[in-house]
Symmetry: C2
Subunit: 431 residues, 2 copies
């Protein structure tokens, strides 16, 4: 820890909330839509513009900046012991097509505000402090995945009819597909990673606490459900001679809702998308395809949800004379946060007088990838009405400032926890 | 009745089944699709080709032919008393985009076969006998509606993005939009109308009887149902904070099925089409639009179905915190058949040794429009697996022949029932 401040001064350190909220407006204007939202797709001109401004701000705040081969923009604020593993924070600046200004961007700018606060107070942590702007969080997560050595090396894996191929896209933001593996960080190269993000859900607002203590990032499984019946004339086919795929599908939807609400647990289960065939007013639906998305922190719970649903589907298929098939499409394992980081965040909230609420993250974040590299924690701030990925996404300036202060003090305490004695420094340098 | 045959010879008269089934193949080849089906849209080249061949066949069978201003092709086989109202039969030659060869075409060709049989036996009924090929049954029903004076006179009423405007289409088949009302038949100008058609449903096949005694054409009501909830993130929105429009819609679908199956009645109720918004895997559906189609012979029953559904929807809306709205889109009144014609068909079946089954027609037919002009009856023959409007539509040659014989003898008996004494003839001529 720098010697310019004593511990009392450190304990009362606060970010500049006005400055933080000004930067949110400045970056939010890049790719602004007429509806008040923002569209700043990964690799687009707007993405590059936002990253470029961030880079200049990082450098003005005393950071050295690099762009790794996966397109991650990394600012590094020197620590007192430059060869120790870095503490890291960060998030993303890219958005979905019709986004608000907070998702991802807030975590990046709060990290910048933390560094600015340290820099203007002449404070350097023992550890180097990295602020990472991950490349393309919203679609491929190529930035964090490459950093963790989890990115498939086949460009076709990332192909999508609506998006340009990944290699030239990476080149556009300063990455290098051919040297992608060079972006992989070695185990031990980071001491910890903490991501600050808007909740994107209604739990914190309902709980009345401004700070979310994330307990983990839920496991997520996606399936397609196909219900096959027999299309026939909606007028001429008597009710008792039908194999109506939609009547069966309706029962499946309610069975999905039942596994989502069982035991008053934290799990969620959603049918979000449906396609009927032939989907015309005067024909009994012959086939229905649906998507299923289930999430929970516990793999046991997810297994049990699937088993219950499969039993229900078999009974529904028999009763409706249809065939129902469940096909796995995606499986992301649950990722717990590091318990020490979690309790550190809780303690910081208590010391700052900020009520906090423990909750899982039910959305994906770069942090869940980073957890395979280093100790990981996450902090949430409330989203008004739980809305995200929409122009009405909103987090109050007060909550934004409070979250940044929690991030600041969490990093300060982790710096102490992962304390770098000269002996540790020497040992790490020798690796 | 012609004097060339005695009543015993008349009673044993039979159509030429091979000839009938050959004509089905000939017309079925016009617009044949690679999948074995047929596409002969109203007003298309294929429709005109089929009508042209029919016209030559009609004339070769001793009929005079006209095309009225609504595009109806009418063959008239002279009766012994030319000024009496005509007995009429007929159906349509146009098809849906992917059709089988029987729907409509069978009724036209069976009518032709009846006239051919009369003609080659030198039999003339007392009444003139008309064979009507109605224009565009599958979409606008312009032919029968104009004949009954029910066709809206605003061309925009018939406008559809996928189809050409009606006035030039009518001109293409010999009609005349500007003089449409000239096709209207006066009350009393027809003695009766009998349509022979494939069932397009599975009832006859299941009953094992080759002949369907149609009791009436069901009333049909169509609605759109809109379920409005709140779209939100499928991961971050806890189950107890959702307003999932699809979960509500699933309950509505089951409520629709319940009103369709109540009391083991003949009514049907179908949700055939659905549209979700935003319809993506990781978002809770915020809105669902569905179609509802209900049919029954009794308006009281239909009223009761709607009332029950509205009660159910209100309860579902409250339980799911959604708003559910039912919007009427179409209402066709039930049309009973003439009881004398119905019992005549039943008696003919008994005399021919053909088992018959009474059933409603749950599909629309030109006959329901003709019922406003004259006494109407309908005869059905079985559809294999109940399939229609598909390339697999099939009715066996034997059933086709049996149905045509029932039509022949029904018309012979109706000729007698609506008997034309010279006094009647004189009275009619004086009108």
């Amino acid at each position: 820890m720098t010697q310019q401040c004593n511990s009392t001064e450190i304990a009362s350190l606060q970010v500049n909330g006005d400055r933080l909220n000004d930067t949110l407006k400045t970056i939010g204007a890049i790719g602004a839509l007429p509806n008040g939202g923002v569209r700043r797709l990964a690799f687009s001109l707007e993405d590059i513009q936002a990253r470029t401004i961030l880079q200049t701000w990082m450098e003005a705040a005393g950071m050295t900046t690099t762009i790794d081969t996966a397109g991650n923009l990394i600012g590094r604020y020197p620590g007192r012991f430059p060869h120790t593993p870095a503490l890291a924070t960060g998030s993303h600046l890219d958005t979905v097509p019709n986004a608000g200004i907070y998702d991802g961007t807030y975590g990046v700018l709060a990290g910048l505000e933390v560094v600015r606060t340290l820099h203007e107070n002449n404070i350097h942590l023992d550890h180097p402090l990295e602020l990472i702007v991950f490349a393309d969080e919203e679609r491929t997560m190529i930035g964090s995945k490459a950093m963790a050595g989890q990115a498939p090396l086949d460009p076709d894996y990332y192909a999508h009819p609506h998006y340009a191929p990944l290699p030239p896209s990476l080149a556009a933001i300063g990455g290098d597909w051919e040297r992608l593996t060079a972006s992989q960080r070695q185990p031990g190269s980071l001491a910890a990673f903490v991501e600050l993000h808007v909740e994107q859900g209604p739990v914190l607002e309902a709980a009345g606490g401004p700070i979310g203590l994330v307990t983990g990032i839920v496991g997520q499984r996606r399936y397609s459900i196909t219900v096959a019946g027999q299309a026939s004339h909606a007028g001429t086919t008597p009710m008792d001679m039908r194999q109506d795929a939609l009547v069966a599908a309706a029962q499946v939807i309610l069975a999905v809702n039942k596994i989502g609400t069982a035991d008053n647990g934290d799990q969620v289960a959603t049918v979000g998308s449906m396609k009927l065939s032939p989907n015309v007013v005067n024909t009994i639906p012959g086939q229905v395809e649906m998507t299923l998305d289930i999430r929970d922190l516990s793999n046991d719970r997810l297994d049990q949800m699937v088993a219950t649903l499969e039993q229900d589907m078999a009974a529904i298929a028999q009763a409706t004379q249809t065939r129902i098939h469940l096909q796995p499409k995606l499986r992301n394992e649950p990722v717990p946060v590091n318990s020490h980081i979690h309790s550190t965040i809780a303690q910081v909230c208590e010391d700052l007088g900020l009520p906090s609420t423990a909750l899982p993250s039910r959305a994906s974040h770069d942090a869940q990838i980073m957890a395979s590299l280093t100790d990981m924690g996450m902090i949430f701030v409330p989203s008004d009405d739980g809305i995200s990925h929409a122009e009405t996404e909103y987090t109050s300036p007060e909550h934004c400032t409070q979250g940044a202060n929690v991030l600041l003090h969490t990093l300060l305490r982790l710096d102490h926890h992962y304390g770098c004695t000269e002996e540790v420094v020497a040992a790490v340098s020798a690796i």
